[in-house]
């Protein structure tokens, strides 16, 4: 890194600001406390700019630009809440809301209100696809529907192991899990995007169940999932029975005992049971990522007996 880092001056929402060279528009907005919504962006992952909720208007640009990945340039004039921006955000919310179960995406509801998004404009949701149907779609082909229902990704939950579940009707295809499983962290490459277009999905090779796939169950995909599509089995079970109660939960940070690396764990506990384990994305040791033991290996402090 050069010692004299250059700064860049630009204008956002009428305010002049300076950011270090290489900063993104999102970072520039954050520095000004301008709220730019994001779904697919994460502090510990390379921006993929696919959800497009963060688009902003850049003077002179033909289209809107994604704040999360567009680098700030000198003299840029940016508007973060222009009519064009609002319309695109509204439509992104409607398109997501009509095709994906966004109920556990923390900010979805408030954003939908803010941008006056009405996913139901596209009609009633199509019924849930039977198991395996979405996986069998062939690129470049689709069943032509009569438009009575809004196509969506509803499908049965995949439960093929005791550590975490995959509820892909909540998957908005943000790519985070693929990035965390891949070069951004774990480098296991157990999952990738398969299929194309609306049939694109997160898949193992040949849609193999996780225990037979390359998955090493580090749960780093779960750690970055923004919509609850990937969830600890413990949490999913509690939610199923209606016992999930955030008012009874506490999150405490501590250090994992399973080796000497010093990974910080944020342990979410309900009724003295560990229901979710994460690590802060900005932690210098973990960058938010853990291994199977640190993520899931805690039954021994919950009265689980060694076998």
């Amino acid at each position: 890194m050069s010692d004299a880092q250059r700064t860049i001056e630009l204008e956002i929402d009428g305010r002049k600001t300076q950011v270090p060279e290489g900063a993104t528009l999102l970072q520039a907005c954050q520095a000004l406390s301008i709220d730019v919504p994001t779904f697919c962006w994460a502090a510990n992952l390379t921006p993929v700019n696919v959800c497009r909720i963060c688009v902003v208007e850049l003077e002179g640009a033909r289209t809107l630009v994604p704040a999360c990945s567009r680098k700030a340039e000198a003299g840029m004039v940016v508007k973060t809440e222009s009519e064009r921006v609002k319309l695109s955000r509204k439509l992104v919310l409607e398109l997501l809301g009509s095709s994906v179960d966004m109920s556990l995406a923390p900010e979805f509801r408030s954003l939908a209100t803010k941008y006056d998004a009405h996913p139901e404009r596209f009609g009633p949701r199509a019924p849930r696809a039977p198991s395996g149907e979405r996986e069998s779609a062939h690129a470049g082909h689709h069943h032509v529907d009569d438009g009575a229902h809004a196509a969506n990704v509803a499908q049965p939950m995949k439960v093929d192991n005791d550590l975490f579940v995959r509820d892909y009707e909540k998957c908005m295809l943000c790519y985070k899990c693929v990035e965390a499983c891949g070069t951004d962290a774990q480098n296991t490459f157990a999952i990738a995007i398969a299929g194309r277009g609306f049939d694109a999905r997160i898949a193992t090779e040949l849609e193999t169940p996780l225990p037979d796939s390359a998955c090493v169950f580090c749960g780093n995909c779960v750690g970055v999932c923004p919509t609850g599509a990937l969830m600890f089995k413990a949490e999913s079970d509690l939610r199923d029975t209606g016992a999930w109660d955030e008012s009874k939960q506490k999150v405490t940070d501590t250090i994992c005992p399973y080796c000497g690396v010093g990974c910080q764990l944020s342990m979410r506990v309900q009724d003295n049971k560990i229901v979710r384990v994460t690590s802060p994305a900005d932690h210098s040791v973990t960058a938010g990522h853990l291994c199977i033991k640190g993520r899931f290996g805690w039954s021994f402090v919950e009265g689980g007996k060694p076998k």
Binding site: T63, P66, V92, H141, D145, G147, A148, A194, R196
Partner: protein, 613 residues
């Protein structure tokens, strides 16, 4: 890399098909190191194609072997394999027909052909697949599926037939009938249909193609081939770039970016490995001009790429050819081989200290791979997903290195510019659009085909040259460009075909589609086919395009049923908002223009016709 590979062992056939591409497996039991795997990743798609050409589908054992040889994670290979429409992920008969049901073929009997094939071979494979996942086996000797435009609109209806085996046969042909398709499925050669190839002014882009003798190096040389490269050597790299800049030549792929500026930008990256990529992934419905050039004038592309390499300091060239063009593939690989043998490609071109060589890569059925960054991703061995720009390929292109990407027609035009100079080039055309341009006439015209016209020629004159509508029926509209597309109403037929003329009329020339309609073509089904095309071809990466193209198609389906939700105005408002968001917020040109033709139809024409009430 500690990859977990598939456990199935490859059959001898699978192994030999892949070894034939990659060379024999090296001794030792361990996989490639990370850096070797990185270097090999680019062979993923060629290896998958080699596998399918041999055994007819992407078999488990074959896929596993590909992954082991290349050091590619199986999940990623699966992600790539499932991206391309031409790759079969379930076992199917070795003989397979892709039958175009896109706009031009639909106007010339594609549905009847599909019906006949269904009678003969059962339902379209992809729909059967969907109904009965993972149980695609069929006792039939052959199978078929519908396909988007095969680039044979001048010979519609068209089919692409592949027969896998030790000597695989691939044929794309027009004038498709059940009998011709059956014959091809049995591995027999099918004669080409006729088509028009004409110039309305000076014959430049088609000068050699119409002579039909340029497919050998000798023939090409006889027609003046390689004089442009010799001239380039005289001009020097900077002189070439100056001439190309002065010619005001802009890209013919649709985006109309100045070619000279592209070359200058790449030339600036002194000291870095640089690339020249020929975008031969022509896949836009109604477009087939590049195919004609590639089939009839393959050396022109090679010579021009060599000039581009010389002018920009690039030593590696790549031709990314769409998978549906087997004849072009054959002619190009022959041409590359004979150019190399004659010293026109290689370490010392024409005995000079100039190095340049070309690798031919084939797509596998993905329109999006014509988008330049998706094309790069596809060559690199990844899913053909467009990348965000900036950075632009001239700075960060193939393998992260500076890259010139030019369309086929652009490259062929470069030859005239360099050989004769920019001022000579500008002797035809308009001041704003010098030179000539190829147009692809299809639909309801008497003589569909490729027409070369000087810029500024009125659209009506071009249609007239192609014989007008058969039977002298009135034109109900012209679809000019499907992608950034817009319809031209019968009142606007005098539109001058130049960049500035198109701009003034609120449209673009795009890649040169002129799809002529009369009252035998129903507008709403045409729009639904276009909407279906965009839905099928969306890569699925960004929300506006992935879901927006679905919602657009659903909306048109409702209109077609006369079942507008909340009234017609509500639906039109929704369509407009969808279009605006796709245009504003999609990553790449596909999503940004997916609604253009449809929105334009509502402005220029009356797609609802009688259904309006």
């Amino acid at each position: 890399m500690d990859l977990q590979h598939l456990t199935e062992a490859p059959s001898d056939a699978e192994r030999s098909a892949i070894d034939a591409l990659l060379g024999p497996a090296e001794a030792g039991e361990h996989g490639p190191t990370p850096s070797v795997a990185r270097a090999r990743r680019t062979f993923l798609l060629p290896a998958l194609l080699a596998l399918q050409n041999r055994v007819g589908w992407i078999s488990r054992g074959g896929l596993g072997y590909v992954c082991r040889r290349l050091g590619v994670p199986p999940a990623e290979a699966w992600g790539v394999a499932t991206f391309y429409a031409l790759l079969a992920l379930g076992e199917r008969p070795a003989a397979f027909a892709h039958v175009c049901d896109d706009i031009a073929c639909a106007a010339r009997g594609a549905e009847e052909l599909c019906g006949a094939l269904e009678q003969r071979f059962g339902p379209c494979a992809s729909s059967a697949h969907r109904a009965e996942p993972h149980a695609q086996r069929t006792s039939s000797s052959a199978a078929w599926a519908r396909s988007p435009c095969l680039g044979l609109c001048d010979q519609a209806p068209a089919a692409l037939v592949t027969v896998a085996g030790t000597t695989p046969v691939e044929q794309a042909f027009g004038g498709a009938t059940l009998a011709r398709v059956e014959s091809a499925l049995e591995g027999r050669r099918v004669a080409a249909a006729s088509f028009a190839l004409e110039s309305m002014g000076p014959r430049r882009l088609l000068a050699r193609a119409t002579a039909k003798e340029a497919v050998t190096l000798d023939g090409y040389r006889k027609l003046g081939g390689y004089r442009a490269l010799e001239r380039a050597f005289e001009l020097g790299p900077e002189g070439v770039r100056k001439e190309v800049g002065a010619s005001k030549l802009v890209g013919r792929g649709g985006a109309a970016f100045p070619t000279g500026r592209k070359w200058d930008a790449v030339a600036r990256h002194v000291g870095k490995q640089r690339h020249v990529v020929c975008n031969a992934d022509e896949s836009e419905p109604g477009t087939f001009k590049d195919r004609v050039l590639l089939e009839q004038d393959p050396f022109a592309v090679i010579e021009s790429m060599t000039i581009a390499g010389f002018a920009t300091g690039a030593t590696r060239g790549w031709i990314y050819l769409r998978g549906e063009y087997p004849l072009a593939a054959e002619r190009l690989s022959n041409a590359i081989a004979s150019a190399r043998a004659a010293g026109w490609l290689g370490a010392r071109i024409a005995g000079r200290d100039v190095a340049f060589d070309i690798e031919l890569r084939r797509g596998a059925g993905a329109y999006i791979c014509g988008e330049e960054t998706a094309l790069l991703a596809s060559i690199e061995g990844f899913r053909g997903e467009p990348r965000t720009k900036p950075p632009f390929p001239v700075d960060v292109g193939l393998f992260g290195q500076p890259t010139v990407i030019n369309n086929v027609e652009t490259l062929v035009a470069v030859l005239d510019v360099v050989r004769d100079g920019a001022s000579s080039y500008a002797s035809v055309g308009t001041p704003g659009s010098p030179g000539t341009k190829l147009f692809c006439l299809s639909g309801r015209v008497a003589r569909p085909g490729v027409y070369e016209v000087p810029f500024g020629t009125p659209l009506s004159a071009l249609i007239e040259r192609a014989g007008g509508v058969p039977g002298g029926k009135p034109i109900t509209g012209v679809l000019l460009v499907v992608v950034a597309g817009s319809f031209v109403s019968p009142k606007q037929l005098d539109l001058p075909l130049s960049f500035e003329g198109a701009r003034a009329a609120g449209t673009t020339l795009g890649s040169g589609v002129v799809f002529v309609m009369d009252d035998s073509i129903e507008l709403l089904p045409l729009l639904r086919r276009i909407a279906a095309f965009f839905r099928d071809e969306s890569c699925g990466q960004c929300v506006p395009c992935r879901v927006g193209t679905v919602r657009q198609e659903e909306l048109l389906a409702r209109l077609a049923r006369g079942a507008a939700r909340g009234g017609l105005e509500t639906e039109q408002h929704l369509l407009a908002e969808l279009g605006q968001a796709m245009r504003d917020a999609s990553i790449c040109g596909l999503g940004q223009t997916a609604s253009s033709a449809i929105e334009s139809a509502f402005v220029q024409l009356d797609p609802l016709g009688g259904k309006r009430s």
